[in-house]
């Protein structure tokens, strides 16, 4: 995981990697998560 050779060694990661499709600055990740959290609070569920 450190050296770049992916065929050998262990690649420990969670299932949620399936939902990820970009590499972002860590600070941006914190901002994005918080923004989505507050937007979700305002509009939590789908309704008719």
């Amino acid at each position: 995981m450190f050296e770049g050779n992916l065929a050998e060694g262990e690649l420990e990661i969670g299932q949620v990697s399936a939902l990820l499709d970009d590499i972002l600055p860590a600070g941006q990740i914190v901002k994005n998560v918080w923004k989505e959290f507050t937007e979700g609070l305002a509009n939590p569920v789908k309704m008719l």
Binding site: M1, V16, P25, A26, Q28, E36
Partner: protein, 263 residues
């Protein structure tokens, strides 16, 4: 007014037991992960208002000391160190943590009773990572300030019960009075909201922060992470210590070896 709305005074006015415990703006914690979370990642997360954590498991003691010092130079805000209690010589890590004045420690695996009181005597905030309500209770009894309840979706070392986050969080919230941080499968704000609706007071993200610019993992690994699809991770070495990892040649070898043993 609910407790949540009365604490929520605007974008940076949010407060709850977790933000107060650590002195952070948002109850968003970046997991301490071996090979992936050094001072760069931890300080970037802390500077953004979350809690960054240095993963000490893959570090020699002097390397850990260097990361702690560099992290302090890169952020004035709180950060923590994760200590897996099953790696060799972790007691040296604990000595360094105390010497360098680290204020927040996340311990994982092993028995929380052994080290919690040692750390708390030095005024350090202690959080233990667990995967069952049984161990959540043990952590509370040992004096931990909070627990991370990590579900089966999580990468790395997993609990034998294989309880997923959806089931684990309500169970642990019910079992203890100390704050619960939800982990395992969480990468975005809606999942964070779901975990907190279930009673968690914070979330810990691992994989999402591996796929960051500052993570110390190799770029090839980061690309594997963002290219992976549902079903690409699997538990390996179940008989020894369960570990979730991406299927690759190593996994196939281990898988073959396990199947061979069963014949």
């Amino acid at each position: 007014m609910t407790a949540l709305s009365s604490s929520f005074r605007g974008t940076v006015g949010f407060s709850n037991r977790i933000t107060k415990l650590f002195g952070i703006d948002y109850p968003i914690i970046q997991a301490g992960m071996i090979w992936a979370s050094g001072w760069k990642l931890a300080s970037a997360v802390s500077n953004a208002g979350g809690l960054g954590i240095i993963g000490s498991g893959s570090m020699y003691p002097d390397v850990l000391r260097e990361h702690i010092r560099k992290c302090k130079a890169a952020t004035i805000l709180p950060f923590g160190v994760n200590v897996p209690l099953l790696y060799p010589a972790f007691d040296k890590h604990i000595d360094i943590i105390i010497e360098e004045g680290v204020k927040i420690v996340f311990t994982s695996a092993g028995n929380p009773k052994t080290w919690t009181s040692v750390l708390k005597e030095k005024g350090i905030t202690v959080v233990h990572v667990i995967s069952s309500s049984k161990f959540a209770k043990k952590s509370e009894e040992a004096g931990c300030d909070a627990v991370v309840a990590e579900g089966f979706e999580a990468g790395g070392h997993n609990g034998r019960e294989e309880t997923t986050t959806m089931v684990l969080i309500p169970a642990v919230v019910e079992a203890v009075k100390i704050p619960v941080i939800a982990a395992g499968g969480i990468a975005n704000g809606r999942q964070m909201l779901a975990a907190m609706v279930m009673g968690a007071e914070g979330v810990q993200l691992g994989s999402r922060f591996v796929a960051s610019e500052e993570a110390s993992s190799h770029i090839n690994f980061k690309n594997e992470v963002i290219n992976s699809k549902e079903g690409d991770t699997k538990l390996a070495m179940k008989e020894l210590t369960p570990v979730r990892l991406l299927k690759n040649d190593f996994f196939k070898e281990v898988d073959e070896a396990e199947k061979e043993e069963q014949r």
